[in-house]
Amino acid sequence: MNAAEWGRLIIYLGAAGAIAATVLFALAAKQERWLLWARRAYALAVFSAVAAFGILISLCMRSDFRVVYVANFSSSDLPWYYKLSSAWAGQEGSFLLWAFWTALLGLLLIRRLRRYEPLTMAVYSSILAFLMAILTKQSPFLLYPPSEVPPEGMGLNPLLQNYWMAIHPPAIFIGFASLAIPFSIAVAALLRKDWDGWAQIAMPFVLLCWVTLGAGLILGGYWAYVTLGWGGFWGWDPVENSSLVPWLVITGLMHGLVVQRHRGGLHRSNLLLALLGAPLFFYGTYMTRSGALAESSVHAFDALAKGALGLVVAMLLTYTVGGLGLWLFRLRSIPAKQTAEGVLSRDLAFSLGIIALVVIAGLTLIGASMPIISYLIARQSSAVDISYYHIANAPFAYVMLLLLGLVPFLSWRKVDNADVFIQRISAPWYATLFIGLVVAFASYFLRLPVAVGVFFLMLLATFTILSNAILVWRLAKRNPMSMGGYLTHVGVGLVLLGAAASAFYEQKAEAVLTNGMTAQMFGFKVSYAGMTHPDEEMGKDNAVRLRFESLKGDKSFEARPVYYFDTHNPMQPRRVAEPHIYKHALYDMYIAIGSDGGGVIERLQDPGKTLPIRRGETKKMGEYTIHFKNFQIQGAMGSDDMSIGAVLDVEYKGKKTELVPVAVFGRGGKPAKLPGGGEVAIFADEINANERQVILHFFGMPGQTTMPDHVIVPVEVKLKPLINLVWLGTILMMLGGGIAMRRRFAEILQEQQEPVAEPVATGRKPKARTKPAPGVTGGH
């Protein structure tokens, strides 16, 4: 039995283990003696998921093309890190990655659950069981029949051959996998009718989910920015949306849990949000993998095998109906405590913020589902325009930013005196107003474009940044562990400010360059300096060399936007273009071939000189003496990749060389370089087999009055001001999330070490919870 067959077997073993774990954990909730066996079954599932993933990686690393998956997504000439990432580049591999992280996270989870273990793990194992069952139907270990094994793989999509793309999927799939944790704990809480204990266990895992999903989204955005040539980092694509929506819901849950901890409220909505995260991602999986969106997304995967798709639908229905049904069933017994005590209170701000987040998630979900909704209504799937997401979400984003700016100065209880509050808030408020006035005047005098909505967004983002930065500054000395949230909010403000500025104040310049021509763009003189790989112009890794010299003469650099033909599959050569990004502290210059990375480089039509020649003949052409020796034929007669070469002996200034220009059927050909400059080419449709004659085309010969390198290059440069704020903001968000996560893990560790772990329902003692910035109760 070879490794792939073992892999298939192990997947079945894992599915069996996960199903057994589900049943045994459920039994263990009643009788503790089943617990040990339940854990053993779960361990079997973990072992299987890890082993199967390991086998797939090793098959990819060894380029074992007997395996269909490996042949489809890898090739032997890839460097090791892209062979590795081909393990999750395809449909089956990404499901296995999902199962792998789900299994491993369960090990981290199981140690923190204590009395919650049986019920939570029963639900959690059932999700793993679904994933393993999907993998039995859509197996990455399918083998070709021995006679059909291809000699070489198809290779990895060149767009995925980027190191950001190598780390983005592993990161975001930890996030996807961890969505199952709050779901499972919430189900256990509903079954146990424990309305507070669950929140404590779930908190650090919710943060883990938030950080990993967030990091995945950010890496994906950065990849789109540097590789895809969209010119942006976010495109409201269905695949992006299906990760964004659960992330927003988890963000809401995270804040709801903080309110529950500090004020003892929001029990109902927190359980609801915890139950929504995972099903929303299952729905996204269905949308992007069912082929339902094939007509409106570039990214959507192709349709899953029927059995696997059925299981995805079953999974979506089971957990949506099961979770919401249980919640509705228990709704009347969940305490509903009023928390907000006043208009100027942190409680109300949190509640409104959560509502804003959930509404944004909902509107995004509806927009992304439009193709499905419109198909159900009108049998034609119509997508919404991207502007929908901006227009619909804007009012709620404004409210969210305003709340983010106010929150640092609000207490958990009502602020008695509004004057005190206004006094506290005055510094960031006046600073924002001042900056706003400066920008308004500058816009007027510099004739910058103005849009009220964008200006308002930037103003609110500035306010958020300033007021949270003040608090971060204060906490950094006093209590750094509690500054995570505020640091994240500074980051959110920076991301939105940078996104608004870089999109709205973006400037664009275009030019068509050819040899010896210069164009002026943004204070630079730009000229075309050839290709990095002129000999194999369209071969892999070729880039266009563009010289940028500042008009003042103090700065110069060479931009190298990638541009080549990916000919891995001769049936479908495809242009690959990636932008070159010139980084400056205040702006990025986004340099692309054609618009949005689109264009083509065209050879100028050069009639050249022609010379018909028969086999065995010797003729003169300019300073060349040419003898046509023979034909050189490769590939099967009549097939698409058949190529014919003409073997020529060329004499130039007393020196003899052999040249072989090649014509490939259906795809032009490969000219040969002439000594002394220029090239000679033949074309398939001009080959006369009966007469044994070809027509030689001479381009750019010495003495011929064409340009030696006659290409025209469409160049587009976009100036994106303040885009670095986006990247700075994302770093602060992740840093803030990381700090908060460490704090919450430390908290449950400490609380679990306390002898009395059973919390009293809603009557939890509020310890030290009246300060505006709640300190850590743990030992920091």
């Binding site: 094939a294 007509e295 502007s387 929908y388 227009i391 068509v512 242009r575 273009a577 054609g594 618009s595």
Partner: protein
């Protein structure tokens, strides 16, 4: 207290109404060639690429082609950029844009090519947008 909730609910209702309006305004309906000719808004038209009609103009930076819908109606399309990838091999094209005179100006085109990366028989759409 109640006032604050009323204001919040009022705001949400207003926001949702605006979102609903945005949805109606921004949805891009699928239409036939005949309907596209009559329309004054942004629409999407799906059709086959008429063989030999594809022209790429690197100087004007335009892609021009003709599509034919299921009823056999033909529509000339201009895409104001050079499309990336292999439009030549497209079996089916979705053009998203608006009529300008007799020509359909597509700010975005999606085209389906026999795909290389997802196995033999499967197909995927590629995208080109302005």
């Amino acid at each position: 207290m109640n006032k604050a909730y009323l204001v919040a609910i009022g705001f949400i209702v207003l926001g949702l109404l605006m979102a609903g309006r945005a949805m109606i305004q921004t949805i891009v309906p699928y239409v036939s060639v005949a309907e596209a000719r009559e329309s004054t808004r942004k629409v999407q038209v799906k059709g086959k690429l008429v063989q030999g009609s594809l022209q790429m103009d690197p100087v004007q930076r335009e892609t021009r082609f003709i599509i034919e819908d299921a009823q056999g109606d033909r529509l000339p399309v201009v895409h104001p950029k050079l499309a990336q990838g292999n439009v030549e091999q497209a079996t089916e094209i979705v053009a998203i844009g608006q009529m300008r005179g007799n020509v359909f100006v597509a700010e975005k085109i999606l085209y389906k090519c026999p795909s290389k990366y997802q196995g033999k028989q499967m197909q995927e759409y590629q995208e080109s947008s302005q």
